[in-house]
């Protein structure tokens, strides 16, 4: 059971400003059903340019609903410039804190507000715009968003980043990239914490090489495939040729040849030896592996 503050429970059981403002000046939408939470924020300005009314509709857990409720309370009466100063931390602080794993709810509130203000100012789309390059494909989070939560909340680990913006919470394939972004933002402070990759460098004996290839596949490749219902097996290592077989979902994936093989090859070159190349063994995938759609 989550430990929620009394204030959070109050805003969940008695949410303020539920609904949609009529003739809204700004509308902002973030999240989706698939992601597990979504928020639609609408506001109307008075003649002095202050937010006269703000309402929300939210799909999500108790903290998603409570943070949305607080957001509307916080921005009412403010000018848009003042409202834009509200950070996800302000929202969380107002509630007397949020469980770490729920911090992304407060970030969602801030994003919805930005989308609504952009919508008013630019008059364009109401959706939260993705700025930058998508790093986490599972939850559609870009490098700029990750950078921003790291800066605003002084984050130092991948786990924290996942708690704050969901990035890295799916297959885990982007953990390396998130680590690099953390390093770029936080600099030396976090460098030592970085995970050390398996040893590489000296000339390996054949047995050592095979073991290192197996270890790299186990630790670096399989976990990502697993979350998509797939799997990989090491079939053979002959000189610099590494033969692998993809199983489960991945075996039928038409893109396997272009994506997975390259990913495996890149990982093996990074962690074992730059001369390795990967071939896919299609013969050893037996018929019984087909999964029903």
């Amino acid at each position: 059971m989550w430990e929620y503050t009394e204030k959070l429970k109050d805003h969940f059981f008695n949410p303020r400003n539920v609904g949609e403002v009529e003739d809204a000046d700004g509308v902002g939408e973030v999240g989706s059903l698939a992601c597990g939470d979504a928020l639609k924020l609408t506001f109307k300005l008075d003649k002095n340019g202050r937010i006269k009314d703000a309402k929300f509709k939210t799909f999500g857990c108790a903290s998603a609903i409570a943070t949305s409720s607080v957001l509307t309370e916080l921005i009412k009466g403010k000018t848009l410039d003042e409202a834009m100063q509200v950070t996800n931390k302000d929202i969380a602080d107002y509630l007397g804190g949020l469980p770490e794993q729920k911090m992304h709810c407060s970030v969602m509130g801030r994003e919805a507000l930005e989308a609504a203000v952009d919508n008013y100012r630019g008059g364009g789309t109401t959706k939260h715009e993705l700025e930058g390059r998508v790093v986490c494909t599972c939850f559609g989070v870009t490098d700029q968003e990750i950078e921003r939560v790291i800066r605003e909340n002084d984050l130092t680990s991948v786990e924290q980043v996942t708690n704050y913006c969901k990035a890295g919470g799916g297959c885990g394939g982007c953990h390396g990239e998130i680590e690099k972004i953390i390093e770029a933002v936080q600099g030396e402070r976090v460098k030592e914490q970085a995970v050390t990759p398996p040893r590489k460098g000296k000339k390996l004996t054949t047995i050592q090489k095979i073991q290192l290839v197996q270890q790299t596949i186990n630790e670096q490749v399989r976990p990502a495939l697993r979350t998509h219902g797939g799997n990989i097996e090491l079939v053979d290592v002959e000189g610099n040729k590494v033969t692998v077989a993809f199983r489960g979902m991945c075996a039928q994936c038409k893109l396997a040849e272009y994506t997975m093989k390259d990913v495996v090859e890149a990982k093996l070159r990074e962690f074992v030896s730059g001369d390795l190349y990967v071939e896919e063994d299609t013969d050893s995938v037996d018929e019984g592996h087909e999964h029903r759609g």
């Binding site: 969940f12 059981f13 597990g36 939470d37 928020l39 639609k40 799909f59 857990c61 186990n218």
Partner: protein
């Protein structure tokens, strides 16, 4: 406020009779059953009795019962013990909907060079036995498939599976944690080699479990360091827990009929009333082959944790497969394996009943459910677009 406990697949209340039975073995009869003196010896007699009580519920011989500390230990022992006994075989077959006590162990095996096959399920959570059959080969050391699913209550045709697997000389383990006490078992007539059971799922306290090992099944011990349980599980026995578990099994056998009549009827009433009163709701899993006490219902456009908290205000205890309750960001692996759309998986609620539930509790929940769902849907940005 008195709680209305519909979360019996998570854990159960200890039966009064069970508590009474175990009580003397804390402060008064605290002896070690391995001791030579009469004081300890009398405890050993009680453990023998408990073993017989468990054996009667499972329909097997008392010598086939090993007491463990929990269902998870039983599962780990079954898997590692079997693999250690047939070291030349390197393939393990399981399913994508297993409890983590099995699935996590199997996935870990992959890092040690095992070839692990995870069978998929269809939309109703059913296995394709042809697929299983095509995977069985000379390299297969173990097939481990749960008897009944903890989240949906879907029951797999384990007898048929066991026949198919063991006739090829392969060991079959089944996680029977959810089935034991809810549906009759007769293991002496069954080819099942290994079955795990957990005390706290059948009104015994937490901290005692069982691994059934059919005579003739090759299995290496998992915990070493003592002669307890015939050398198959070392460690001083959890005496009060084992005595409680024995009594709980005896009671479970007595209440088996009630479980499949009165409890089942309450479950059916709860389920059909909710489906009727809450639009856009659906049952997850095969309703035909299912535990009598479990229902898993999805409510579109709303999120499970929010439902649970509103239920909690009325003292109603249930659980959810939503991402927010699992502590991860993705919904239940069981519902995903079944291809339940994310929209429905996030809003899934499991009610699991027991013989302690009453008609009044069911009626009260039926009365409260529509307003809870309606309230959250009023908050939901998806409802207007989708249904109005």
């Amino acid at each position: 406020m008195k709680e209305i406990y519909f979360d019996n697949n998570a854990t159960t209340r200890v039966a009064d009779e069970v508590f009474e039975e175990m009580q003397p073995y804390f402060c008064r009869l605290y002896g070690n059953p391995s001791s030579m003196h009469t004081f300890g010896g009398q405890v050993g007699v009680k453990i023998r009795e408990a073993r017989e009580q468990v054996a009667r519920l499972l329909g097997c011989d008392p010598s086939e019962i090993i007491f463990t500390s929990c269902g998870t230990e039983s599962d780990s022992t079954a898997i590692h013990g079997t693999l250690a006994a047939v070291p030349h075989r390197r393939k393990v077959i399981t399913t994508r909907v297993e409890h983590p006590a099995v699935l996590t162990v199997c996935r870990e095996l992959e890092s040690h060079g095992y070839h692990v096959v995870e069978l998929g399920v269809d939309k109703l959570g059913r296995l394709d036995l042809n697929e299983l059959e095509s995977e069985l080969d000379d390299d297969t050391a173990l097939v481990t498939i749960m008897y009944a699913n903890n989240e949906t209550g879907v029951v797999f045709p384990i007898e048929q599976i066991a026949e198919m697997v063991t006739s090829r000389g392969i060991t079959l383990h089944t996680d029977g944690v959810q089935i034991a006490g809810k549906m009759p078992l007769n293991l002496s007539e069954s080819p099942i080699n290994l079955l795990s059971l957990s005390g706290h799922k059948l009104h015994a306290p937490k901290g005692a479990g069982v691994l059934y090992v059919k005579k003739g099944t090759r299995i290496a011990p998992f915990l070493l360091g003592g002669h307890q349980e015939g050398g198959r599980r070392a460690g001083t026995e959890n005496v009060p827990g084992i005595i409680a578990l024995g009594k709980a099994c005896e009671l479970a056998a007595e209440h088996m009929k009630e479980e499949n009549t009165r409890v089942k009827r309450l479950r059916d009433k709860l389920e059909s009333a909710i489906l009727k009163s809450c639009p856009d709701s659906r049952v997850n899993g095969d309703r035909e082959h299912r535990l009598p006490n479990t229902t898993n219902i999805s409510f579109e456009y709303v999120e499970g944790e929010a439902i649970l908290l509103l239920l909690d205000r009325y003292g109603i205890c249930a659980s959810s497969g939503s991402a927010c309750t699992s502590g991860s960001l993705e919904p239940s692996h069981v519902l995903r394996a079944m291809g339940v759309p994310f929209t429905a998986a996030h809003g899934s609620i499991r009610f699991s009943l027991s013989r302690y539930n009453t008609e009044d509790q069911v009626d009260f929940t039926i009365a409260k459910m529509p307003e809870i769902i309606e309230r959250l849907r009023e908050l939901s940005p998806f409802v207007q677009a989708a249904t109005r």
